[in-house]
Amino acid sequence: MQIYRSHILVCGGTGCVSGGSKDVIDEFQKELERRKLDKEVLVVHTGCHGMCELGPIVVVYPEGTFYCRVQKTDVAELVEEHIYKGRPVSRLMYAGSEEMPVVPHYKEIPFYSKQERIALANCGYINPDNIDEYIARRGYEGLGKVLSGMTPAQVIDEMKASGLRGRGGAGFPTGLKWSFCAASKGDKKYVICNADEGDPGAFMDRSILEGDPHCVIEGMMIGAYAMGADEGYIYCRAEYPLAIQRLKTAIAQAEEYGLLGQNIMGTDFSFTVHIKEGAGAFVCGEETALMASIEGRRGMPRPRPPFPANSGLWEKPSNINNVETWANVPRIMVNGAEWYSSMGTDKSKGTKVFALTGKVKHTGLVEVPMGITLREIIFDIGGGILDDKKFKAVQIGGPSGGCLTEDHLDAKVSYESLTALGAIMGSGGLVVMDETTCMVDVAKFFLTFVQKESCGKCPFCRIGTKRMLEILERITAGEGKMEDLDTLEQLALMVRTGSLCGLGQTAPNPVLTTLKYFRDEYVAHIKDKKCPAGACTALVKYSIDPAVCIGCTKCARNCPASCIAGEVKKPHVIDSEKCIRCGNCKEVCPVGAVSVE
């Protein structure tokens, strides 16, 4: 086999691809060929490195040099300087703090130093389209170990001992769930991977599938062996074309090696897996709706019991787990339950992947041990708030979750502690908000989402969320009444108790947590007709301070509504009637004369 002295890893995750990483790869190949280095340097596309905001990311090994925002035009210099002459290019390295202005190596970047990568172990490290790279990193060894020396019951015991809980949101203990399906009688059983990932802002599962598709397939196979299933489905939303393409390649390569199919590794165990593309309805992530959708029916939840373990896909015993849950399984089998359960808290073991987004410096994908504090995630890993503004809240758990405040920053991240605060772990969305975010507006945003995504089966969810949304729209338009707050709370309670599935049961959470922790903002909207964050356009007013204005005319020239009048070198005035509150004038004013309230 060909030996390469250096490997250039270029991120091929969706974020970096849209930043131009495909061109970067082609350019590297061209440049290396031109310099006749293509036989000694390998260019590889990998999965997500997590630091999406600084992409396209390039890592050069063996040194492990980390380059950010690499463009096609940087490639010639990188090849000439780093690859050919051995002089790393500091201009493209991560810009650190004052003590360490450039940080050349991956592991030294604060974003990575607090992370613990298990589910993401291979993401950004291997070529997801090459099964050999997965095998080189102990891939399919967990399956081999299980098939050659463990009984199904032993596998389930190992899973129970690991303490792994479902990463799809509810946190149900995985080993226990498997034991139900294993105990269920039936000649045909299914395992299913839930890759619907519908939460706004979440992209954990997409990144795992794009960066390390084999680990999910291997996890499903181990589960299938433990539960007596021989067929699997991966339900992946069609909006994830790259993930689907990589899964297809992975399945084809595993089939070629005989790792999928009949009599795997010379045993009686056989397994085939299919991909089902979903149309991206949020409710289709709910397990019973998801199975209906695979069967070709309309995706609507049904009452449980019967649970999938007894009557699931085509009424056969089935087990459904989330992408990240499956991804952890091979690692637990290779390294043992004890290793896994040594990380995390008492009841929440291991790690959790979060998609860190919003007003934080380093948005991206992070995997952290359970028990870490929100402060560590947002400030140490995420680098704090964008433009050094003030932290206001963090929304955790997506539309089913809640908003937490400054007071909760030192709360430890675990299923129990987050639930106790009124939020949930959820699938891993973390949206950070600063002082310019209006919490009523945030509640409205999430409620609009669930309102649209409600399947309509339960009246409380269908109509209740609609009524709640109407109230929020009134409040943000300055037409709210104080009684509205009580009505909101009443409706919230009814929607929560009167809905069949998690969508309705949790839909009021964003409203309830903001009402609990940011009630004064609601009151300001209703009583003072003011939006303290200056975000609700109907309630803000722009004005120019005549004492500060220098009459440069910049605001007037940039006003799309032509509502600013004034002579050159004389104070200008905004016509509030015509103003559309776009904020352009405030942005362009060189002396800060425009204020908003």
Partner: protein, 122 residues
Amino acid sequence: MAKIKSLDDLRKIRESTSDLSSARTGQGTVVVVGMGTCGIAAGAREIMNSIMAELARRGITDVAVQTTGCIGMCEKEPLVDVIRDGSRVTYGPVTPGDVATIVAEHVVNGRVVDSLAIGRAD
């Protein structure tokens, strides 16, 4: 593609692909070739090619080969450093004919080639 029929088959593939990951860990023995203008002018490219060929011939996959810029000893170029067991030995000027000796003696067996060594740092 051969089928994987057992855990042993899987391990064999893993061994044959171990280079894929070892080149990305940066641990173990490191060989560094001076590729400053001085090194290139003195024939460092050829030395690099010989090193890669020699490692490939011997099937050595756990050695990292790196390049570096000028270190100031331009008249001794091409320079090759071997970092092994915590110490760094500099060889120069190295000819393509010396490469096999350095790889066999120092890289593989850990014996410094005194006749070619010009510096050592622990």
